[in-house]
Protein backbone atom coordinates (compact mmCIF):
# COMPACT_ATOMS: atom_id res chain seq x y z
CA UNK A 1 0.00 0.00 0.00
CA UNK A 2 1.28 3.46 -0.78
CA UNK A 3 0.41 6.98 -1.81
CA UNK A 4 -1.33 5.42 -4.84
CA UNK A 5 -4.22 4.27 -2.64
CA UNK A 6 -7.50 5.43 -4.15
CA UNK A 7 -9.80 6.94 -1.53
CA UNK A 8 -13.51 7.61 -1.79
CA UNK A 9 -14.74 10.23 0.68
CA UNK A 10 -18.52 10.22 1.25
CA UNK A 11 -20.15 13.13 3.10
CA UNK A 12 -23.21 15.26 2.31
CA UNK A 13 -21.39 18.45 3.32
CA UNK A 14 -19.02 19.57 0.57
CA UNK A 15 -16.93 21.52 3.06
CA UNK A 16 -16.26 18.38 5.10
CA UNK A 17 -15.34 16.49 1.91
CA UNK A 18 -12.87 19.26 1.06
CA UNK A 19 -11.39 19.21 4.56
CA UNK A 20 -10.88 15.44 4.45
CA UNK A 21 -9.52 15.64 0.90
CA UNK A 22 -7.01 18.32 1.94
CA UNK A 23 -5.95 16.32 4.99
CA UNK A 24 -5.45 13.23 2.82
CA UNK A 25 -3.38 15.31 0.38
CA UNK A 26 -1.23 16.49 3.29
CA UNK A 27 -0.75 12.85 4.29
CA UNK A 28 0.52 12.17 0.79
CA UNK A 29 -2.63 10.59 -0.64
CA UNK A 30 -3.34 12.42 -3.87
CA UNK A 31 -5.93 10.07 -5.33
CA UNK A 32 -9.16 11.10 -3.64
CA UNK A 33 -12.69 11.06 -5.09
CA UNK A 34 -15.88 12.35 -3.49
CA UNK A 35 -19.55 11.33 -3.21
CA UNK A 36 -22.37 13.04 -1.34
CA UNK A 37 -24.24 9.97 -0.03
CA UNK A 38 -24.43 6.19 -0.21
CA UNK A 39 -26.56 6.17 -3.34
CA UNK A 40 -23.90 8.11 -5.25
CA UNK A 41 -21.02 6.24 -3.64
CA UNK A 42 -22.17 2.66 -4.23
CA UNK A 43 -22.04 2.68 -8.07
CA UNK A 44 -18.63 4.39 -7.86
CA UNK A 45 -17.38 1.66 -5.52
CA UNK A 46 -18.76 -1.04 -7.80
CA UNK A 47 -16.43 0.11 -10.57
CA UNK A 48 -13.72 -1.47 -8.42
CA UNK A 49 -11.49 1.58 -8.63
CA UNK A 50 -11.25 2.30 -4.91
CA UNK A 51 -8.99 0.94 -2.19
CA UNK A 52 -10.33 2.79 0.85
CA UNK A 53 -13.73 4.19 1.85
CA UNK A 54 -14.16 7.04 4.32
CA UNK A 55 -17.83 7.73 5.02
CA UNK A 56 -20.05 9.94 7.14
CA UNK A 57 -23.06 8.31 8.85
CA UNK A 58 -25.86 10.89 8.78
CA UNK A 59 -26.63 11.65 5.13
CA UNK A 60 -29.81 12.06 3.08
CA UNK A 61 -30.54 9.27 0.61
CA UNK A 62 -28.44 6.33 1.74
CA UNK A 63 -26.79 6.85 5.15
CA UNK A 64 -23.28 5.64 5.89
CA UNK A 65 -24.35 2.60 7.90
CA UNK A 66 -26.45 1.29 4.99
CA UNK A 67 -23.55 1.94 2.62
CA UNK A 68 -21.29 -0.09 4.93
CA UNK A 69 -23.82 -2.96 4.96
CA UNK A 70 -24.09 -2.88 1.15
CA UNK A 71 -20.30 -3.00 0.85
CA UNK A 72 -20.01 -5.94 3.23
CA UNK A 73 -22.86 -7.79 1.46
CA UNK A 74 -21.19 -7.49 -1.95
CA UNK A 75 -18.58 -10.21 -2.44
CA UNK A 76 -16.41 -8.04 -4.66
CA UNK A 77 -16.52 -5.07 -2.29
CA UNK A 78 -16.53 -6.90 1.06
CA UNK A 79 -12.75 -6.69 1.71
CA UNK A 80 -12.73 -2.87 1.24
CA UNK A 81 -11.41 -0.99 4.32
CA UNK A 82 -14.14 1.32 5.65
CA UNK A 83 -13.53 4.17 8.07
CA UNK A 84 -16.59 5.88 9.56
CA UNK A 85 -16.02 9.62 10.09
CA UNK A 86 -19.08 10.96 11.88
CA UNK A 87 -20.62 13.07 14.64
CA UNK A 88 -22.83 10.13 15.68
CA UNK A 89 -21.87 9.54 19.29
CA UNK A 90 -24.35 7.01 20.70
CA UNK A 91 -22.61 3.96 22.10
CA UNK A 92 -25.19 1.67 20.52
CA UNK A 93 -24.44 3.21 17.11
CA UNK A 94 -20.72 2.55 17.46
CA UNK A 95 -21.51 -1.04 18.46
CA UNK A 96 -23.84 -1.39 15.47
CA UNK A 97 -21.19 -0.02 13.10
CA UNK A 98 -18.64 -2.45 14.55
CA UNK A 99 -21.08 -5.34 14.11
CA UNK A 100 -21.70 -4.24 10.51
CA UNK A 101 -17.97 -4.59 9.88
CA UNK A 102 -16.51 -1.08 10.07
CA UNK A 103 -12.70 -1.01 10.27
CA UNK A 104 -12.37 2.29 12.13
CA UNK A 105 -14.58 4.93 13.73
CA UNK A 106 -13.50 8.57 14.01
CA UNK A 107 -15.78 10.97 15.84
CA UNK A 108 -16.25 14.59 14.71
CA UNK A 109 -14.79 17.04 15.55
CA UNK A 110 -11.54 15.24 14.81
CA UNK A 111 -7.88 16.08 14.36
CA UNK A 112 -5.57 15.40 11.42
CA UNK A 113 -3.46 13.23 13.75
CA UNK A 114 -6.47 11.03 14.63
CA UNK A 115 -7.39 10.58 10.97
CA UNK A 116 -3.79 9.65 10.11
CA UNK A 117 -3.54 7.25 13.06
CA UNK A 118 -6.73 5.38 12.10
CA UNK A 119 -5.86 5.16 8.40
CA UNK A 120 -2.33 3.94 9.22
CA UNK A 121 -3.72 1.37 11.64
CA UNK A 122 -6.24 0.00 9.13
CA UNK A 123 -3.60 -0.16 6.38
CA UNK A 124 -1.08 -1.83 8.68
CA UNK A 125 -3.62 -4.46 9.73
CA UNK A 126 -4.49 -5.07 6.07
CA UNK A 127 -0.84 -5.44 5.17
CA UNK A 128 -0.30 -7.87 8.07
CA UNK A 129 -3.27 -10.05 7.13
CA UNK A 130 -2.20 -10.06 3.45
CA UNK A 131 1.36 -11.13 4.32
Amino acid sequence: MSADIKFLVVDDFSTMRRIVKNLLHDLGYKNVSEADDGNTALPMLKTGKFDFLITDWNMPGMPGLDLLKHVRADAALAPLPVLMLTAEAKREQIVEAAQAGVNGYVIKPFTAATLKEKIDKILASRAASAA
Partner: protein, 244 residues
Protein backbone atom coordinates in the same frame (compact mmCIF):
# COMPACT_ATOMS: atom_id res chain seq x y z
CA UNK B 1 -84.78 29.82 23.06
CA UNK B 2 -83.16 30.16 26.47
CA UNK B 3 -84.96 29.45 29.76
CA UNK B 4 -84.52 33.03 31.07
CA UNK B 5 -86.38 34.47 28.04
CA UNK B 6 -89.23 32.05 28.63
CA UNK B 7 -89.60 33.17 32.25
CA UNK B 8 -89.39 36.88 31.28
CA UNK B 9 -92.12 36.47 28.68
CA UNK B 10 -94.26 33.96 30.56
CA UNK B 11 -96.96 36.49 31.45
CA UNK B 12 -97.00 37.88 27.93
CA UNK B 13 -97.50 34.35 26.50
CA UNK B 14 -100.23 33.62 29.11
CA UNK B 15 -102.16 36.78 28.11
CA UNK B 16 -101.79 35.97 24.42
CA UNK B 17 -102.85 32.33 24.89
CA UNK B 18 -105.86 33.40 26.95
CA UNK B 19 -106.86 35.89 24.23
CA UNK B 20 -106.27 33.18 21.61
CA UNK B 21 -108.58 30.81 23.53
CA UNK B 22 -111.24 33.48 23.93
CA UNK B 23 -111.16 34.41 20.23
CA UNK B 24 -111.46 30.71 19.33
CA UNK B 25 -114.39 30.25 21.67
CA UNK B 26 -116.08 33.43 20.43
CA UNK B 27 -115.54 32.49 16.82
CA UNK B 28 -113.51 35.74 16.40
CA UNK B 29 -111.46 34.79 13.38
CA UNK B 30 -109.62 38.12 13.02
CA UNK B 31 -108.80 38.18 16.76
CA UNK B 32 -107.59 34.55 16.64
CA UNK B 33 -105.24 35.28 13.70
CA UNK B 34 -103.89 38.44 15.36
CA UNK B 35 -103.05 36.55 18.56
CA UNK B 36 -101.47 33.66 16.67
CA UNK B 37 -99.30 36.11 14.66
CA UNK B 38 -98.13 37.85 17.83
CA UNK B 39 -97.21 34.53 19.40
CA UNK B 40 -95.15 33.54 16.33
CA UNK B 41 -93.37 36.90 16.26
CA UNK B 42 -92.39 36.43 19.90
CA UNK B 43 -90.82 33.06 19.20
CA UNK B 44 -88.95 34.40 16.16
CA UNK B 45 -87.61 37.34 18.12
CA UNK B 46 -86.32 35.07 20.91
CA UNK B 47 -84.53 32.76 18.46
CA UNK B 48 -82.97 35.73 16.67
CA UNK B 49 -81.76 37.15 19.96
CA UNK B 50 -80.11 33.82 20.88
CA UNK B 51 -78.47 33.57 17.47
CA UNK B 52 -77.19 37.14 17.76
CA UNK B 53 -75.65 36.33 21.12
CA UNK B 54 -73.91 33.22 19.77
CA UNK B 55 -72.58 35.16 16.76
CA UNK B 56 -71.33 37.99 18.98
CA UNK B 57 -69.57 35.48 21.23
CA UNK B 58 -67.94 33.79 18.27
CA UNK B 59 -66.87 37.10 16.80
CA UNK B 60 -65.41 38.22 20.16
CA UNK B 61 -63.56 34.91 20.53
CA UNK B 62 -62.08 35.26 17.05
CA UNK B 63 -61.04 38.83 17.74
CA UNK B 64 -59.54 37.86 21.08
CA UNK B 65 -57.59 35.04 19.41
CA UNK B 66 -56.31 37.45 16.79
CA UNK B 67 -55.37 40.24 19.18
CA UNK B 68 -54.40 38.51 22.41
CA UNK B 69 -52.61 35.49 21.04
CA UNK B 70 -49.14 35.78 19.50
CA UNK B 71 -49.78 32.56 17.58
CA UNK B 72 -51.08 34.32 14.49
CA UNK B 73 -48.00 36.50 14.30
CA UNK B 74 -45.70 33.61 15.07
CA UNK B 75 -47.24 31.34 12.45
CA UNK B 76 -47.53 33.86 9.63
CA UNK B 77 -44.39 35.93 10.06
CA UNK B 78 -41.92 34.99 12.73
CA UNK B 79 -41.56 31.26 12.07
CA UNK B 80 -41.00 31.75 8.31
CA UNK B 81 -38.56 34.54 9.24
CA UNK B 82 -36.73 32.21 11.59
CA UNK B 83 -36.47 29.60 8.85
CA UNK B 84 -35.02 32.21 6.52
CA UNK B 85 -32.58 33.33 9.23
CA UNK B 86 -31.36 29.79 9.77
CA UNK B 87 -31.00 29.29 6.03
CA UNK B 88 -28.94 32.45 5.97
CA UNK B 89 -26.72 31.14 8.77
CA UNK B 90 -26.28 27.90 6.85
CA UNK B 91 -25.30 29.83 3.71
CA UNK B 92 -22.99 32.10 5.68
CA UNK B 93 -21.16 29.26 7.37
CA UNK B 94 -20.91 27.38 4.07
CA UNK B 95 -19.49 30.46 2.32
CA UNK B 96 -17.02 31.12 5.14
CA UNK B 97 -15.81 27.52 5.18
CA UNK B 98 -15.39 27.48 1.39
CA UNK B 99 -13.59 30.85 1.41
CA UNK B 100 -11.22 29.55 4.08
CA UNK B 101 -10.58 26.34 2.18
CA UNK B 102 -9.98 28.30 -1.06
CA UNK B 103 -7.42 30.49 0.69
CA UNK B 104 -5.64 27.53 2.28
CA UNK B 105 -5.55 25.70 -1.05
CA UNK B 106 -4.09 28.83 -2.72
CA UNK B 107 -1.50 29.34 0.04
CA UNK B 108 -0.14 25.80 0.21
CA UNK B 109 1.40 25.75 -3.31
CA UNK B 110 3.10 29.13 -2.66
CA UNK B 111 4.69 27.80 0.54
CA UNK B 112 5.59 24.51 -1.18
CA UNK B 113 7.23 26.37 -4.10
CA UNK B 114 9.32 28.53 -1.76
CA UNK B 115 10.46 25.45 0.17
CA UNK B 116 11.35 23.54 -3.00
CA UNK B 117 13.32 26.52 -4.39
CA UNK B 118 15.16 26.84 -1.05
CA UNK B 119 16.09 23.14 -1.25
CA UNK B 120 17.37 23.58 -4.81
CA UNK B 121 19.34 26.66 -3.81
CA UNK B 122 20.89 24.93 -0.79
CA UNK B 123 21.90 21.99 -2.95
CA UNK B 124 23.49 24.31 -5.48
CA UNK B 125 25.20 26.24 -2.65
CA UNK B 126 27.04 23.08 -1.64
CA UNK B 127 28.29 22.51 -5.16
CA UNK B 128 30.80 24.28 -7.42
CA UNK B 129 30.26 26.86 -8.77
CA UNK B 130 27.96 28.44 -6.18
CA UNK B 131 24.80 30.11 -7.43
CA UNK B 132 25.23 33.61 -8.76
CA UNK B 133 24.04 36.67 -6.80
CA UNK B 134 21.29 37.04 -9.36
CA UNK B 135 19.93 33.55 -8.67
CA UNK B 136 19.99 34.19 -4.92
CA UNK B 137 18.38 37.61 -5.37
CA UNK B 138 15.66 36.14 -7.59
CA UNK B 139 14.91 33.49 -4.94
CA UNK B 140 14.75 36.05 -2.14
CA UNK B 141 12.44 38.31 -4.17
CA UNK B 142 10.21 35.41 -5.09
CA UNK B 143 10.07 34.24 -1.47
CA UNK B 144 9.32 37.74 -0.16
CA UNK B 145 6.47 38.13 -2.64
CA UNK B 146 5.15 34.60 -1.94
CA UNK B 147 5.19 35.06 1.82
CA UNK B 148 3.44 38.42 1.38
CA UNK B 149 0.68 36.60 -0.54
CA UNK B 150 0.43 33.89 2.12
CA UNK B 151 0.24 36.55 4.87
CA UNK B 152 -2.53 38.34 2.96
CA UNK B 153 -4.47 35.10 2.54
CA UNK B 154 -4.09 34.29 6.24
CA UNK B 155 -5.63 37.68 7.05
CA UNK B 156 -8.53 36.80 4.78
CA UNK B 157 -8.90 33.46 6.57
CA UNK B 158 -9.17 35.36 9.85
CA UNK B 159 -11.76 37.70 8.36
CA UNK B 160 -13.79 34.83 6.96
CA UNK B 161 -14.24 33.53 10.51
CA UNK B 162 -16.27 36.67 11.29
CA UNK B 163 -19.34 34.67 10.29
CA UNK B 164 -19.22 33.13 13.76
CA UNK B 165 -20.21 36.39 15.45
CA UNK B 166 -23.05 37.14 13.02
CA UNK B 167 -24.43 33.62 12.87
CA UNK B 168 -24.24 33.39 16.67
CA UNK B 169 -26.43 36.46 17.02
CA UNK B 170 -28.96 35.16 14.50
CA UNK B 171 -29.14 31.76 16.13
CA UNK B 172 -29.66 33.37 19.55
CA UNK B 173 -32.65 35.36 18.23
CA UNK B 174 -34.15 32.23 16.69
CA UNK B 175 -33.71 30.41 20.01
CA UNK B 176 -35.66 33.20 21.72
CA UNK B 177 -38.46 32.79 19.20
CA UNK B 178 -38.51 29.02 19.68
CA UNK B 179 -38.87 29.59 23.44
CA UNK B 180 -41.83 31.89 22.84
CA UNK B 181 -43.40 29.42 20.44
CA UNK B 182 -43.02 26.66 22.99
CA UNK B 183 -44.83 28.73 25.64
CA UNK B 184 -47.64 29.63 23.21
CA UNK B 185 -48.07 26.00 22.12
CA UNK B 186 -48.05 24.78 25.71
CA UNK B 187 -50.73 27.35 26.53
CA UNK B 188 -52.83 26.14 23.60
CA UNK B 189 -52.45 22.51 24.64
CA UNK B 190 -53.46 23.46 28.20
CA UNK B 191 -56.57 25.30 26.93
CA UNK B 192 -57.54 22.22 24.92
CA UNK B 193 -57.36 20.08 28.06
CA UNK B 194 -53.83 18.65 27.83
CA UNK B 195 -51.25 18.82 30.59
CA UNK B 196 -48.05 19.54 28.66
CA UNK B 197 -45.32 21.39 30.56
CA UNK B 198 -42.86 23.59 28.68
CA UNK B 199 -39.75 21.79 27.44
CA UNK B 200 -41.14 18.27 27.85
CA UNK B 201 -42.26 18.30 24.24
CA UNK B 202 -38.98 19.71 22.94
CA UNK B 203 -36.82 17.32 24.94
CA UNK B 204 -38.75 14.22 23.91
CA UNK B 205 -36.42 11.96 21.97
CA UNK B 206 -38.84 10.71 19.36
CA UNK B 207 -36.30 8.42 17.68
CA UNK B 208 -35.13 6.92 20.99
CA UNK B 209 -37.03 3.59 20.94
CA UNK B 210 -35.57 2.39 17.66
CA UNK B 211 -31.99 3.00 16.56
CA UNK B 212 -32.34 5.15 13.49
CA UNK B 213 -30.19 4.06 10.58
CA UNK B 214 -30.13 7.66 9.46
CA UNK B 215 -28.32 8.87 12.59
CA UNK B 216 -29.07 11.41 15.27
CA UNK B 217 -26.59 14.18 14.44
CA UNK B 218 -24.04 15.76 16.74
CA UNK B 219 -24.49 15.74 20.49
CA UNK B 220 -25.94 19.10 21.64
CA UNK B 221 -25.26 20.03 25.29
CA UNK B 222 -28.46 20.18 27.34
CA UNK B 223 -30.41 17.89 24.99
CA UNK B 224 -30.99 14.27 26.00
CA UNK B 225 -29.17 11.90 23.64
CA UNK B 226 -29.05 8.73 25.70
CA UNK B 227 -25.75 6.93 26.29
CA UNK B 228 -23.07 8.68 24.24
CA UNK B 229 -19.30 8.74 23.98
CA UNK B 230 -17.48 11.89 25.01
CA UNK B 231 -14.71 11.78 22.40
CA UNK B 232 -12.29 9.67 20.37
CA UNK B 233 -10.74 8.08 23.50
CA UNK B 234 -14.18 6.74 24.49
CA UNK B 235 -14.77 5.43 20.96
CA UNK B 236 -11.39 3.66 20.93
CA UNK B 237 -12.06 2.11 24.36
CA UNK B 238 -15.49 0.89 23.27
CA UNK B 239 -14.16 -0.62 20.04
CA UNK B 240 -11.32 -2.21 21.98
CA UNK B 241 -13.88 -3.82 24.33
CA UNK B 242 -15.58 -5.18 21.22
CA UNK B 243 -12.33 -6.78 20.16
CA UNK B 244 -11.34 -4.29 17.44
Amino acid sequence: MSGSHFHERREHYATLLAALGEALQDGDEAGFHACARQLGEGFESDTMQDLRQITDGLHAALLRFRHDSRLDDLATREVPDARARLEHVLRMTDDAANTTLDLVEQSCPIADRAATRADELLEAWNGVPRPSRNVVRSYLEETRSGLGQVREKLSQVLLAQGFQDLSGQIIRSVMKLVDELEVALTHMVRISGGSLEPSSMLRADVAEPALSARGFGPVVPGVAHGLTVSGQTDVDALLSDLGM
